[in-house]
């Protein structure tokens, strides 16, 4: 595992319970804007809550609420893992 404080990874690879901060959002066809408007802006804190039964989509905690993203969408979000909160999924 990489050093947690420096690790840049995409949101879909977060372990359950891990916390991270948004660094950048990619995506095309309006997805990037939609993610921004839902609050996935650089600096926003996120916690990985759950994966759905078939491994997709994901449940995330963001600002006051819970939102669900597909893994393909979460892959567009680069995050900086906050130390001491779990780590990368193997």
């Amino acid at each position: 595992m990489r050093a947690p404080s420096k690790a840049l990874q995409t949101l879909d690879t977060l372990a359950l319970g891990a916390r991270a901060r948004v660094v950048a959002v990619r995506g095309v066809g309006g997805l990037r804007l939609r993610l921004h408007e839902m609050g996935f802006v650089p600096g926003a804190a996120i916690r990985m809550v759950k994966r759905a039964p078939f491994g997709d989509p994901l449940e995330l905690q963001l600002r006051g609420g819970h939102v669900s993203l597909r893994r393909a969408e979460a892959r567009r979000i680069e995050v900086d893992l906050l130390s001491g909160t779990g780590g990368t999924r193997s």
């Binding site: 309006g30 990037r32 804007l33 839902m38 039964p53 905690q61 006051g64």
Partner: protein, 711 residues
């Protein structure tokens, strides 16, 4: 003078509760040009209106997270706000979830940019307080420079203060704090700052960047420029009402620059919001306290094993409700209609007028009313599931499977309902926000084997696949029935996947789904919605169904048989419908059917199960609906007088069932599709494609079966 007040807010913040509390039951679905989403409006309850204040009309906008036009809901909200469809509101009340203030304020920043006077209703302060989030409305009001009223919409708390603030704010100019915030939000945006770090650097030559100032020059209103740019970024220009000049200027803006600019504006709005939250001491903690109880519930409800079991149980209950429990109500309606027919027949005596009234008008009214139990029960169920927050979980659980077809998890419930009846199922597609995906779902639903096909399967299987024939431990008839359901399901999914990739091509919609906290449902809100939906069906589709019933009756009744007609010929053979059936016989032969079945197919256009009684008429059997044994016997015994061949063989029966799997033999479905798509284009498309497919498949089955040596 009167005031128009629009209610705006995110989904799941108690907007409908507040609207119902403000207007009582005197609300109706408003009429907005070009808006396919329900926008309800109603007058403010008189007892809430302060003495001497102008009358107030309250408009309930669709719940949205943002004004950027990514779906019909946002586009409808924007059109209502800007007066592009109907009179614009004088003031906007934004309902905020106090427990989720950050994201809720995003809509406020966008509305502030629009420039309408705003009043904020800080809702669910009680929930937030229980969760340890104390918010002083006064502090928020000072930080924003806007009136903020604490409300508990479900209990009707804070309504008087809210109305007072509305009356006060409607005439007051924007305060200095709010004006300064608006100025910061509307400051010109640079496209560069919004580009994702490390992406291919924009070849920001001055010419590409100049396209945005060009747009600004055409549009003039900065808030509208942003709205158009967001549409450009999302590829949703078709959802805008851009003028030709605006559209031309917008088309010159590079999509990635529109996207970068829009994203940088979103970041700027959240930057302002974070500043406000900090100023009022709103704990910027990333725990979601309001979700504590919900998280505990979700440990079970979205668990990878238990969650699926709960899902299956809930869906089984929903399905059973409309498939089985609606039955007694539908029987009662049919019994009432036949009682009425009987009364009319007795009173008027036999004759043409009696037939017109009983078999045309009363039957037509019955054809409309009979759907009401299923529609009401389905919307009751959907409403309660939405209200409690379970519907979002259901979409969360099933999305993986639905996205294979290219659809959102929300398409599941309408498709499942299609096994009971296409009518409520098609009405239920309104929860799907993308118009194209909604259309794909509507086109898929009639392929689901509805309960009206069951009597046909039962008749044919009972007549031609005797129960004693077995395949291993299973009866042959049971396997055939199962095969029909499997065929219909696979066909619906295949058709959906094909339309999604060709005719109605659009990317799989992003999920970005909110999982709101669980709440107790508000039965009153749900019942009001059930009433709206049911009335909408009766008014929007009922007249068409009634008219078609009368026309169909006439086609199958006229001309009357001549006086010297041989008694073994059924009167129906002389009618226009009967003659068409006879004329179609050469076309029916390749699928193994004769004119008798052809006439029954025509008659079944009223509703598929009518096929059984029409075939009974053709065979001269006045059987009751519940007992088709004499018709079965007649079908088994029927032989061609010339060749001595059996008229109905198992293979011919199979071809007939396959025909009914695919054929859109249901005028009510077409009437509802017309209502939901706003014209005859899609119902015509649906009818033609489904009938053609049904014919081809039935011919393939019959000819293929014969080639394999079956008869």
């Amino acid at each position: 003078m009167s005031l128009r007040v629009a209610l705006a807010g995110n989904p799941n913040v108690g907007k409908t509760s507040l609207f119902n509390a403000l207007t009582g039951a005197r609300q109706r679905v408003g009429n907005y040009a070009g808006v396919t989403v329900d926008v309800r409006e109603g007058p403010l309850r008189a007892e809430l209106l302060p003495r001497g204040a102008p009358a107030i009309t309250v408009v309930d906008l669709p719940g949205v997270y943002s004004l950027s036009p990514t779906s019909e809901d946002e586009a409808a909200a924007y059109r209502c706000l800007t007066g592009a469809s109907g009179p614009p509101p004088d003031l906007v009340v934004v309902i905020l979830d106090a427990a989720n203030l950050g994201r809720n304020l995003y809509l406020v920043t966008q509305l502030l940019e629009q420039g309408a006077p705003l009043v904020l209703a800080l809702n669910m302060v009680d929930v937030a307080k229980e969760a340890g989030l104390v918010i002083e409305p006064e502090a928020l009001a000072r930080a924003l420079g806007l009136p903020v009223i604490a409300t508990i919409a479900r209990e009707g708390t804070g309504l008087a203060a809210l109305v007072e603030a509305i009356v006060g704010a409607a005439s007051a100019p924007l305060g200095a704090t709010a004006a300064a915030l608006r100025g910061r939000l509307l400051a010109p945006a640079s496209a560069i700052e919004g580009l994702p770090a490390g992406s291919d650097a924009p070849s920001a030559s001055s010419s590409t960047l100049a396209a945005i100032p060009e747009l600004v020059a055409v549009v003039d209103d900065p808030a509208r420029v942003r709205w158009l740019l967001a549409a450009r970024a999302s590829g949703a220009e078709e959802l805008t009402d851009a003028s030709p000049a605006e559209a031309a200027a917008l088309a010159r803006v590079r999509v990635d620059l529109a996207d970068a600019t829009s994203c940088s504006l979103a970041i700027r709005r959240y930057h302002e919001i974070d500043g406000i939250l900090e100023a009022i001491g709103y704990a910027a903690r990333d725990a979601a306290p309001a979700m504590d109880l919900s998280a505990r519930i979700d440990r079970l409800v979205t668990h990878r094993v238990a969650g699926l079991l709960v899902f299956v149980a809930v869906m089984a209950l929903l399905f059973n409700t409309i498939f089985t429990w609606a039955g007694p109500l539908m029987d009662a309606i049919e019994a009432a209609m036949s009682w009425l027919s009987g009364q009319v027949s007795t009173a008027l005596g036999p004759g043409l007028l009696t037939d017109l009234i009983t078999e045309g008008v009363i039957a037509g009214v019955g054809n409309v009313l009979v759907f009401i139990p299923q529609i009401a029960l389905l919307f009751l169920f959907i409403g309660l599931l939405e209200d409690t927050g379970y519907m979002a979980r259901a979409a969360f659980l099933i999305d993986r499977l639905m996205s294979r077809v290219g659809l959102h998890g929300r398409a599941f419930v309408p498709l499942l309902s299609g096994y009971a009846c296409a009518i409520p199922a098609i009405l239920g597609t309104r929860t799907i926000s993308s118009y194209r995906d909604r259309l794909v779902t509507i086109l898929m639903i009639p392929f689901m084997s509805c309960s009206a096909r069951l009597p046909i399967y039962v008749l044919v299987i009972g007549a031609l696949f005797p129960g004693e024939r077995r395949v291993g431990p299973f009866s042959l008839g049971g396997l055939v029935l199962l095969a029909m359901y499997a065929l219909s399901t696979l066909s619906a999914l295949a058709v959906g996947a094909i339309y999604k990739r060709t005719l109605l091509r659009s990317p799989t919609p992003p999920l970005v789904l909110e999982l709101p906290p669980y709440r107790l449902p508000r039965v009153r809100n749900t019942l009001l919605q059930v009433r709206d939906r049911t009335m909408d069906f009766v008014k929007g589709a009922g007249t068409v169904i009634l008219a078609m019933t009368v026309i169909l009756w006439a086609l199958l009744s006229f001309p009357r048989p001549p006086a010297d007609a041989p008694p073994q010929r059924s009167p129906i053979e002389y009618s226009v419908g009967g003659r068409v059936g006879v004329a179609l016989e050469p076309a029916l032969a390749p699928m193994g059917q004769d004119f008798r079945v052809g006439v029954a197919i025509l008659g079944s256009f009223a509703a598929r199960e009518v096929m059984v009684s029409t075939l009974g008429l053709v065979y001269g059997i006045e059987g009751s609906d519940d007992d088709d044994s004499s018709l079965r016997a007649a079908m088994r015994a029927a032989r061609d007088p010339d060749t001595g061949e059996r008229r109905h063989t198992p293979l011919k029966g199979l071809a007939l069932m396959v025909f009914f799997v695919y054929a859109c033999q249901c005028m009510s479905t077409l009437a509802v599709v017309r209502r939901e798509t706003g014209g005859w284009r899609w119902p015509a498309f649906m009818f033609v494609t489904m009938t053609a497919l049904a014919y081809v498949m039935a011919v393939l089955v019959y000819q293929g079966g014969r080639a394999l040596g079956f008869e």
